[in-house]
Each structure stands twice: as structure tokens, then as C-alpha cells.
């Protein structure tokens, strides 16, 4: 019964991992950029929400109204001002610049907010739960967050394959020079992709900050989970990423059930097992509609 409970909780948490991973996957898909600072930007979104709560007394979920646009603008500026200059055939510059960015964000947060753990308090709704058959109880808030995460991933899928913006993203991704010939402004496209990715991250960051405590040093762990979800699911498929996130969440849940020290280890081991046995991921591009 505990195990079943761990699986259910793992699925709900996995939805949030998938949301974080969707941002990472989007950026890589459009501009072949692996953003090492991705996790730190998510933590930053949590702190922006924290400041918004302190300043206005808003409910943490309502702070999304400000946090999402702030992160999107930051993403646009970051891409146009810094990251676009690192793109090219060599993978080293983007990797090193985002690595430097990660250290800058972590220490900036440390300097501003100290190393103390923080948490966004969502109030009474945090303790409301639904009773499921079999004695299981599911928190309403985690369930709602999971549903929102799935809806956002579905929305991203729609944007990518059904809109003009998505077509421009895909064109730039497939062949940047031809896309430019067709009148697409690549620098602007990349910046829009980063803005969209960080908007998604903002939601993930606020949700994660409500679910569990966070501190300035937790970003890299978020990055690794997102990365693992992408690889487990298979590159180039957002639904695969969702599946990957859920598998990772469930693995961690079961690991924690065995021994608290095994929570993270179990997730990593499942990732490594997928890498060895099925390096293309469980649901690579094309296997899911």
C-alpha cells in the first residue's frame, strides 16, 4: 500500500519534472543549446515569487501573473544579449557561458537571500486531499499542479506543431540559414524560444517552491532531473519527456520508500539503466504522435 502511494506521489512530482524538462528540451530543440543554468533559473523564479509574496501579500499561485512575464522578459534579454553570441558549431562556448551563469545566479541568490531554506506557503489548500479507493489519499494541490503541467506540455505541443510561431521555430531548428533566407529573424526566434522556455520554467519554479523547500544551491539538482527526464523519454518528443519525468518521479518515490538515502540514487540509476539499455530513450521522436 505504501508502495502504491509512493508511485502515485511519484507520478504527481514527475509531472513537474517534465515541465522543467520541457523547457530544457524546447531550447535544445530550437537552437541546440544545453543550458546548464536552467535549474538555477527555475530556482530564481521561486525567489521572484517569494519576493512578490513578501511585497504584495498575494497568494503564491497568483504571483504567477508577475513571475511568468518577468522570467519571459529575462529569457528574451539573456538570449539576445548573451547567449546568441555563443551559438555556433562549437559546443564549448554555450556550455561554459551557461555554466558561468549558473555560478553567478547561485551566488547572487546566496548573497541576497542567504543559504536558509525557503518555502512558498499556499495556505489551507495545501492540506486538502481527495480520498481514493484503496485508502489512498491524493493532495488536491499536487493533483492540480500535475494537471496544469500536462496541459502546458499539451499547449507547447500545439504551439510547436500547429502555429506559425511553431513553424518558424522548427524551420530555424532544421536549417537556420534557409530560415533566414525565408525572412525569419533567427536571433529574434531564438530569443522568443528562450522567453517561452523560461515562462514555462517560471510555472514549474513556483509549483516546486510551493511543494517543497528550496535554497540557492538546489538548481543543479533540478537541472539533472530535467536532463534525465529528457533522455529517458527520448529526444525530440514532448510527450516522451512527460513520460520520462513521470518515470523519474516514480523511481525516486520507490527509492525513498526503500531508504531515504536511496531517493535520488534510484532516479539516477534508472536514468543510467535507460542510457545503457536504450540510449535513444523510451519514446524517441516519431514513436508518439
Amino acid at each position: 500500500m505504501n508502495l502504491l502511494n509512493a508511485v502515485v506521489q511519484g507520478i504527481l512530482l514527475g509531472g513537474l519534472y517534465a515541465l522543467v524538462a520541457a523547457g530544457l528540451s524546447l531550447i535544445f530543440g530550437v537552437m541546440r543549446l544545453v543550458n546548464i543554468a536552467h535549474g538555477d533559473l527555475i530556482v530564481l523564479a521561486g525567489y521572484v515569487a517569494l519576493v512578490a509574496v513578501w511585497a504584495t501579500g498575494l497568494h503564491p499561485l497568483l504571483t504567477l501573473i508577475v513571475v511568468v512575464p518577468i522570467m519571459a522578459v529575462l529569457g528574451y534579454a539573456l538570449q539576445r544579449g548573451v547567449l546568441n553570441r555563443t551559438l555556433g558549431a562549437d559546443i564549448l562556448p554555450p556550455l561554459l557561458v551557461t555554466f558561468g551563469l549558473s555560478v553567478i545566479i547561485q551566488n547572487g541568490l546566496l548573497q541576497t537571500f542567504t543559504a536558509d531554506s525557503q518555502k512558498l506557503q499556499a495556505g489551507a489548500i495545501e492540506t486538502v486531499s481527495l480520498a481514493l479507493p484503496g485508502g489512498l489519499a491524493v493532495g488536491v494541490l499536487p493533483l492540480a499542479m500535475f494537471v496544469v503541467a500536462v496541459l502546458i506540455i499539451a499547449g507547447l505541443q500545439l504551439v510547436f506543431y500547429r502555429t506559425e510561431l511553431g513553424r518558424a521555430f522548427r524551420a530555424t531548428s532544421d536549417d537556420p540559414s534557409t530560415a533566414r533566407l525565408m525572412g525569419i529573424d533567427n536571433a529574434h526566434m531564438f530569443a522568443l524560444a528562450m522567453a517561452l522556455a523560461l515562462a514555462v520554467c517560471a510555472v514549474a519554479g513556483v509549483f516546486l517552491a510551493i511543494r517543497s523547500i528550496f535554497d540557492p544551491a538546489i538548481g543543479p539538482a533540478r537541472l539533472l532531473f530535467a536532463f534525465e527526464a529528457v533522455i529517458i523519454g527520448g529526444l525530440g518528443s514532448l510527450w516522451g519527456t512527460l513520460a520520462g519525468g513521470i518515470i523519474l518521479g516514480v523511481a525516486q518515490g520507490i527509492g525513498a520508500e526503500i531508504n531515504p538515502g536511496w531517493q535520488l540514487l534510484m532516479g539516477h540509476l534508472v536514468f543510467l539503466a535507460v542510457l545503457v539499455l536504450r540510449p535513444q530513450g523510451l519514446f524517441p521522436k516519431g514513436s508518439l504522435a
Binding site: 562556448p93 549558473s102 555560478v103 551566488n107 537541472l223 539533472l224 536532463f227 533522455i231 538515502g261
Partner: protein, 343 residues
Amino acid sequence: MIAALPTYRVERGTTASRIGTILGVVLLALLIALPFLTGRATLRLAIEIFAYLTLAQMWNLLAGYAGLVSVGQQAFVGFGGYMLFALVLFLGLNPLLALPVAGVLTAAVAVPTAFVVFRLRGAYFAIGTWVVAEVYRLSFAQVSALGGGSGMSLPAAAVRGIAADAQLRESIIYWVALAVALLALATVYLLLRSRWGLALTAIRDSEPAAESVGVDNDRTKLVVYLVVAAVTGVTGALIFLQKLRIAPDAAFSVNDWTAFVIFMTVIGGIGRIEGPIVGTLVFFVLRALFADYGAWYLMLLGLVAVAVMLVAPKGLWGYVADRFALQLFPVQRRVRLLEEPRA
């Protein structure tokens, strides 16, 4: 009619490299004599500098030449450190003797590690190595015989096995650190001058082109990865021999053993032997000046690294070397015409 070939000579040494050799010999003599000239505080700092110099040299070989951008070198630093403690504790080995053994064991564990991470390419390889390092950290935290999550100290009896006198002990560790740093430098230098070096330089410049002229890219990369793991493992063992204490978070710290090392290499100049040396010196100067500012200092370090990458991607040494055609460690071959070809 046969076109007359120009007479030519293949040169490797440069004037700078010859002057550098003389200065290097003088500097080496000074460094060997250092324990007789200064106190323990300076020696401790020097040991740390040598350790970072070695780590940076190794990361440069990996990322700058073999194109393997690892963000998980802390895996080998920590593993080497833990192997030292395990060898001393369980086999009663003398710590100095345990250093090379720790290196061999680290190379051995790098084989299955490579099997997993080599499935990933480019930036994914980078994050994959980080995950593996996390697995190492979390696994060692579960080993209660090695102190579990809170770590352990090296037994005092084993420490006295190096030398009974603290001053002498520090001096011995210093000489070993100097020797390891020189060995690492020599390894990189000789490797780059050998046929492996030609292959590596070809891989650095273009992987498909290297493959097309008969370089076995995967094999070359694997050899470099294992050599780097061994030397990094020895350095890790040395670092924690000096600290006398080890714990999972310190042993497998991404900031201490990879971020700083990457910053040093990038600031100095990636893909050249001189780069890590310059970068390490700059790093320690910055640290001496600003370390009191804590997190601000680390932000500054990140900013400098980002700025160098954007403005002068070849690093400080790359900038100087290109401007003045300097090369202290001649690994290139130059063709010099002795006589104009006759028409």
C-alpha cells in the same frame, strides 16, 4: 620536368620555448628548495596550487583536445580521495604508496563510467558525467565503513607513517604534489608531441576530418579519458591526504573540483598547455585579493569566465600568444623554408 622541391626544415622549438626552458630549470630548482625557504602556510598554499594546476591541465586535455567536455571530474577527484582512505584503512597501506594505487583504481572505475557516458555526445555528455558524479557521491554516502554521509578522518598512526615530524610531513607532501604536477605537465606535453597528439589535435580541429585520415576517434578519446581519470584520481587522493579528512559533499563537489577548474582553463586559454598554468595563477591571485568577499568573489569569478569566453574565447594566454607568436611548450610542427624554390 620535375619541379624542384624547396629545401625545408621541420622545426618545433621556438626562441620563446628555448628561453622558457632555461627559466623553467631555474624555477624548478627554486620550487624544489621551497620547503627550506618558507613556512608551512606557504607550503599548504603551494600544494593546493599544484593540485589545481594538475586538475586544470587534465581537464584541458580532455575538453580542449579530445572534445570531451566533462562537468563530472569531481567523480574522479572524490573517488581517488576515497580510495586513499580505503587503502590506508582496510589494507594498512602507507598513504604515499596508496597514491598511485588510488590512481590505478580510479582508471579502473573510469572504464565502466566511460561505457555509460560515451553514449552521450557533446553537451549531453557533459551533463551525463555530472549525473555519474552524483551517483558516486550518493553511493559513498551509503558506505558506513567509510563514514557514510558525515565522512571520516585519516587515522593518526597512518599519518605518522609518512613522517613523524609535521614539518617534514608537509614538505614530503609538497614534493609529491610538485612531482605530480610536473608529471601531469610532462604527460600532456609528451602525449601532444606523440602520434596520439597529432590525432588529438586533428580531433580538436575537426572530428570528421580526423576520422577520414584514419584516426580512430573513439579509441583515442577513450585512452585520453582513462589517462585523465588516473591522474585526476591521484590528485584527488593527494588533496584529501593533505586535508586528512574526507566527506561525500566535499569529495564530490562540482564547484571545487570542476567549476573552478573549468574557469581556470577558460580564463587562461583552452586547448593550449600554457592556458591552465596562466589560468591557475590568475585564479589564485583573484582569490588572494577577493576571497574575503565570499559569494561576491564567486560571482566575480563567474563573470570573468563568461566575459573571457565572449570577448577572448582563446583565453588570456591565447590572446598574448597570438599577438606575439609565443609558445613555451612547442607541440606544433612548423615548416620553415630554407631556400626559395627555383622556378
